[in-house]
């Protein structure tokens, strides 16, 4: 029974109707991004909306675990097994790469676009349903793979109309490596992580001091790292000054190669580096990145290097269409041509082929010009020729 006072327009929190012109803008933007991916050899796959919960939650090493709390679940009446609605498409594409396309030659380039559903929105992204567009590059370990994914993502954003996107490069493996050397118990390690996530220099120093390890090389490196954030070239230079273990040094070397590769590929791309950023990168194993744009709150997308369930080196990127649409100006309405009542369908086709949007009259009554303007048409067909609907000269 519905409450008579309930407004039929009310939707559950985080779910929206996308209206004209934004709905068409989203579709066009997605198709533009997918075209850019296709042009670089990425082939589209389309996984289902719902899967068995067990395959979506994954094995904990591939990021599925961190989204387990974000999935809507339902019982499949047929198989009597628990199903979940995807909260992220990346995992599904990785599953396709390992389970269905394992005989395809590597590197395997796959792209995808689809809707995802999450249990909870957050402050910056209240949406619970939004479109995710992305690509995965599976079976390529070389630095050129890292560069290709970042460059392609940045270029797709520019092509979509995002003003001045910037890429923030991250290296979750670098901090993980240093934390390993510190050899802390789990609770302290988590506290330290929380302090690093906040970039809280004083709390980090305090934790290290209270554990009596503030003077180890690893602790000094950590304190130096937390201050290094900023333009990529400067940070790379600073990182090379810090005394690091061989493993951590290899991560820095990799970062610097990616920075050099990106400078060569896209000289004008804004590139920052933040070696301490870790949130959301729990399952990443190498160079990762976050996409921002000036004046847009929150991130437009993120990606990075990981190991698939089958042990293959992979990297990829996910773009979040809700944030990207927020970064785009409202679309400029195109010209619409009003066809007076009785205009033959084929007459309109000539103009549609020439790129017009045509709107056919459904009534012969009233003033044609006024009717054209009422229906949002810029032009009106007069004697077989488009004329300005408001009567001004064309």
């Amino acid at each position: 029974m519905t409450d008579s006072s309930e407004n039929r327009a009310l939707l559950p929190a985080g779910l929206h109707d996308l209206l004209p012109p934004r709905a068409a803008q989203e579709a066009a933007t997605i198709s533009g991004i997918m075209d850019a991916f296709r042009a670089c050899g990425y082939e589209q796959v389309k996984p289902p909306l719902v899967e068995f919960e067990s395959t979506l939650v994954g094995n904990g090493t591939n990021g599925g675990g961190s989204l387990a709390g974000q999935m809507f679940r339902m019982m499949d009446p047929v198989s009597q097994r628990m199903m979940a609605v995807r909260a992220d498409i990346t995992l599904q594409v990785a599953r396709i790469a390992e389970a269905r396309l394992h005989d395809e030659p590597r590197p395997l380039r796959l792209s995808y676009a689809g809707q995802i559903l999450r249990v909870r929105g957050n402050q910056l992204r209240p949406e619970r349903q939004f479109a995710q567009v992305g690509l995965e590059l599976v079976g390529a370990e070389d630095v050129s793979a890292d560069v290709e994914v970042v460059a392609l993502a940045a270029e797709a954003l520019v092509a979509a109309g995002v003003q001045r996107p910037t890429v923030d490069l991250n290296s979750p493996a670098l901090v993980a490596n240093i934390l390993e050397q510190l050899d802390l118990d789990e609770a302290t390690s988590n506290d330290l992580r929380a302090a690093l996530d906040r970039k809280d220099e004083d709390a980090t120093g305090e934790i290290l001091r209270s554990n009596g390890i503030a003077f180890s090389d690893a602790a000094k490196a950590l304190c130096a790292l937390i201050e290094t954030v900023g333009p990529a070239d400067e940070v790379i230079a600073e990182l090379k000054e810090i005394s690091l273990s061989a493993g951590a040094r290899a991560e820095v070397e990799r970062l610097s190669e990616v920075v050099a590769g990106l400078h060569a590929a896209l000289p004008n791309l804004g590139l920052t580096l933040d070696p301490v950023e870790y949130r959301g990168f729990e399952y990443h194993t190498g160079v990762s990145f976050t996409l921002f744009a000036e004046g847009v709150r929150g991130e437009l997308g993120r990606g990075g290097r990981y190991i698939t369930g089958a042990g293959e080196a992979a990297t990829g990127v996910s773009l979040y269409m809700d944030s990207i649409l927020r970064a785009l100006p409202a679309p400029i309405p195109g010209d619409r041509l009003f066809l007076p009542y009785g205009t033959p369908f084929q007459d309109g086709a000539t103009f549609r082929d020439a790129g017009w949007t045509t709107v056919a009259a459904m009534t012969s009554e009233g003033d044609v010009g006024a009717e054209a303007i009422r229906l949002g048409c810029s032009h009106l067909l007069v004697d077989g020729v488009p004329a300005k609907a408001d009567g001004s000269d064309t």
């Binding site: 402050q123 906040r198 809280d200 004083d202 847009v296 709150r297």
Partner: protein, 225 residues
């Protein structure tokens, strides 16, 4: 750069902390316009001696929200507010060493005398900090039913609203005046420089410059003290 970028907005808390922030501001070279110190001024946004930095003055609790949502690029907020909201988009790099106090549990002397905290399964608490209070008690295996108040929290026990409160304590004189005793400290509090995550990433050079200046200012103040 091709297009002109928008001004940086610095959010400062009204009230007690503001007086302690001003010397730091002077040290980093931000001098607000005269109207900022004029109690009769109705302005909420002020220009400063730095052409591309404006100041907004908002309630202490709202500084974190303005910065987390990117409405302000950086600000000064107490660690109580930062922990209460726990915004993932907020960096808190520098402890400014001002506004020191603590978040504590307090109750009337009569309650403390007969109470055994080990036997609690549920407490009712009046507080301005329901999230921190819930987290704190949950860690001890106690369910906290929080009554959110925005001020005069010390009144709650004496009027029978609840038996315990969680509130900021600096000298303890307000507690004493209301017949309350501090039982436990939940967290030590001080004011932080907070920075919006996207601002730090998209305007890295400017923002790291300001962080460095505030770090120096805080360090100097500490050295003097």
């Amino acid at each position: 750069m091709a297009t002109k970028t928008e001004k940086l907005i610095l959010a400062l808390p009204k009230g007690r902390i503001l007086g302690e922030v001003m010397p730091l501001l002077a040290h980093v070279g931000i001098e607000p316009e005269a109207a900022f110190n004029d109690p009769k001024s109705r302005l909420l946004r002020f220009e400063t001696s730095v052409p591309d930095v404006d100041i907004i003055r908002v309630r202490a609790f709202d500084v974190a929200t303005f910065v987390a949502f990117g409405a302000a690029h950086f600000g000064v907020a107490g660690s109580d507010v930062i922990m209460e909201f726990d915004y993932p988009e907020l960096y808190a790099p520098i402890d400014l060493g001002i506004g020191a106090c603590r978040l504590a549990v307090a109750a009337p002397q009569s309650v403390v005398a007969v109470d055994d905290p080990a036997r609690w399964s549920h407490v009712r608490v009046a507080t301005k900090y329901p999230n921190m209070t819930e987290r704190y008690f949950a860690r001890r295996g106690v369910q906290a039913e929080c009554i959110k108040l925005n001020g005069a929290i010390e009144l709650a026990p004496s009027l029978g609203l609840c038996r315990r409160i969680v509130d900021l304590v600096s000298t303890g004189s307000t507690l004493k005046a209301n017949g309350l005793v501090e039982i436990e400290t939940i967290a030590e509090i001080s004011s932080r420089l907070v920075v919006n995550r996207a601002a730090l990433k998209t305007r890295a050079t400017e923002m790291t410059g300001w962080i460095d200046r505030f770090r120096d200012a805080a360090q100097e103040a500490r050295d003097v003290a």
